[in-house]
């Protein structure tokens, strides 16, 4: 595990001053079964961080642990220096973190409009303004505003999920596979918009299986495997790393 220890050193060396930082997280769903085995992560202000890795590596678990939805056994999560380990999700929302889960990410029995309304639950006054913003991004959501989310197509749901998180205008955004299920044009739109949001000062941490695209836009990337960081570096360097390509990225996308 020499690679791993260099990863750890790397982390400790650069993590200072991060908006969101997680040190040596050990977490899991069931007692005795740890899914995260000492994952580290930091995100500097205004940074766009991508996380990739094989299925079941613990990417979603990591995001959930950051967001207080999975219990962290050891390690800590800091937001701008404050310890937020295992805090309630709604408190984190108040502190400006937004989260789009990978699955079950809409309220099926609420309409699109109501789903989005829930997004700005803590600041109802901003609804109309943010709603316009989101429907600009995803025009379908505007035209179908009265449809129940439970009857939407897979891609439409994904738009609602993303839209909901954007409603609250967060300062840190955690995205779990936001592009999954979207048509290519919408995927690109999501990536571009994410970048745009990020440029406007929002720190973003995104998990993606559309790894090439993700590494193209992100400032820095992590490769997670078996609950700990396997590699990290700038998006470009990771995308070009032959080891990463062999183990995680594959050659399909690059061939084009």
């Amino acid at each position: 595990m020499s690679e791993n220890s260099t990863e750890r050193e790397n982390h400790l060396a650069h993590a200072d001053g991060a908006v969101l930082r997680a040190d040596n997280l050990i977490a899991g769903y069931l007692p005795g079964v740890n899914i995260l085995n000492g994952a580290d992560l930091y995100c500097q202000p205004g940074e766009l961080v991508g996380i990739i890795g094989p299925n079941g590596a613990g990417k979603s678990t990591l995001l959930k642990a950051l967001f207080g939805l999975v219990k962290v056994h050891t390690g800590q999560v800091l937001l701008k220096g404050d310890d937020i380990t295992n805090q309630r999700a709604d408190q984190l929302v108040t502190k400006g973190i937004g989260f789009v889960p990978q699955t079950n990410n809409v309220f099926p029995s609420l309409t699109i409009e109501e789903n989005l309304e829930m997004g700005c639950y803590q600041a109802p006054g901003t609804f109309t303004e943010r709603f316009d913003f989101v429907t600009d991004l995803f025009p379908t959501l505007g035209t179908r505003r009265k449809q129940r989310a439970g009857s939407l197509s897979g891609g439409e749901r994904q738009m609602v999920a993303m839209g909901r998180a954007l409603m609250m205008n967060p300062s840190v955004l955690l995205l779990d596979e936001p592009s999954a299920g979207l048509s290519p044009v919408m995927q690109d739109e999501v990536f571009v918009q994410t970048r745009k949001i990020n440029k406007a000062g929002v720190s973003v941490i995104m998990v993606e299986q559309n790894a090439n695209r993700c590494l193209q836009i992100c400032d820095r990337g992590y490769v997670l495997d078996q609950g700990r960081n396997a590699y990290s570096g700038t998006g470009k360097s990771l995308a070009g790393d032959p080891k990463v390509i062999e183990l995680y990225l594959g050659t399909l996308g690059a061939a084009s």
Partner: protein, 301 residues
């Protein structure tokens, strides 16, 4: 792509590339299929044919009606009108399980794993014609033991290929999003169907694994099976599909080989997008920043 084309693939060369084109040896033929939800016409397919023995991709923007068409074809939803047949058997108002038994099996876009069964049990369930599933034979283990062993070994092979072997004894409910997709697909393959319909099988699957699975899908075709899949991942469409059908707003708007379809300007506009094939890191960062600043100013004003 395979070096030598199978006869079925070769036959596609003759097919016209207009929507609803006739195929030389169709396994599924449907016409006049419509389905409306309230005022929305989710599916409005005049004619559709799926060629036997090839891999057909069904693409189209979100909400185009692809999943709904799957639902209709496989008996999970009732159309407002339309007829279709599989291998010459008319399938209108045939219940879903009978459709599956005829050899037409589908997966679900939003996965449906059997949460409190282990992964291997999920797999075993897929196998058809199990003696032990008959009430009167079930209590007598010696009657179905042999078959069960054979099923299990087949399941284990598939699990290994789908990188789920480590999860063999875990409850399916504890799988990650991508693992569920994989299990869903592997389980459908256990049915050993003639036509397998995959609804976004690769969404959320790790690229390296995806690559290795594509080979598997191709080998299915090479065994003589027909594959129909919905996918937004153009790499996959490009690499393995022999034929592409494009849907938009419920209708089939284009058909053809992957190359021809992807070059179609309408498809690019409505579906693939302008940035398609460009590297996003080459985006004009400065322009993006300027845009953002302009917006911020607008807001302040």
């Amino acid at each position: 792509m395979a070096a030598e084309l199978t006869a079925a693939q070769a036959a596609l060369a003759q097919v016209a590339t207009d929507p609803g084109a006739k195929k030389p040896d169709p396994i599924v033929v449907g016409s006049g299929i419509t389905r409306t939800f309230g005022g929305l016409k989710a599916v409005d397919v005049e004619h559709i044919e799926i060629q036997r023995g090839v891999i057909t991709a069904l693409i189209g923007p979100n909400g185009a009606g692809k999943t709904t068409l799957f639902n209709l074809l496989t008996g999970f939803d009732e159309p407002n009108s339309g007829q279709w047949s599989f291998n010459g058997n008319a399938l209108q108002s045939v219940s879903a399980y009978k459709v599956a038994r005829l050899g037409m099996v589908r997966t679900f876009q939003l996965t449906k794993v059997l949460a409190k069964l282990t992964v291997i049990e999920n797999m075993r369930l897929g196998a058809t014609g199990q003696k032990g599933e008959k009430f009167w034979l079930a209590p007598f283990k010696w009657l179905w033991k042999g078959q069960e062993d054979e099923i299990t070994s087949r399941a284990d092979d598939l699990l290994a290929r789908f990188k789920l072997d480590a999860k063999r004894e875990d409850f399916a409910g504890s799988l990650s999003g991508g693992q569920r997709k994989l299990l869903e697909m592997a389980r459908a393959l256990m049915v050993d169907p003639e036509l397998i319909m995959l609804d976004e099988p690769m969404a959320g699957v790790n690229p390296a694994l995806k690559q290795s699975l594509l080979g598997h899908v191709q080998s299915l075709r090479d065994e003589g099976r027909t594959v129909l899949f919905v996918e937004h991942d153009m790499d996959m469409v490009r690499h393995i599909s022999d034929w592409v059908i494009v849907m938009a707003q419920g209708q089939i708007v284009a058909e053809g080989t992957p190359q021809s379809v992807m070059a179609d300007q309408r498809v690019i506009d409505a579906y693939l997008g302008a940035h398609h094939d460009t590297d996003l890191s080459e985006l004009d960062e400065a322009a993006l920043e300027a845009e953002v600043e302009a917006e911020i100013k607008e807001e302040q004003a």
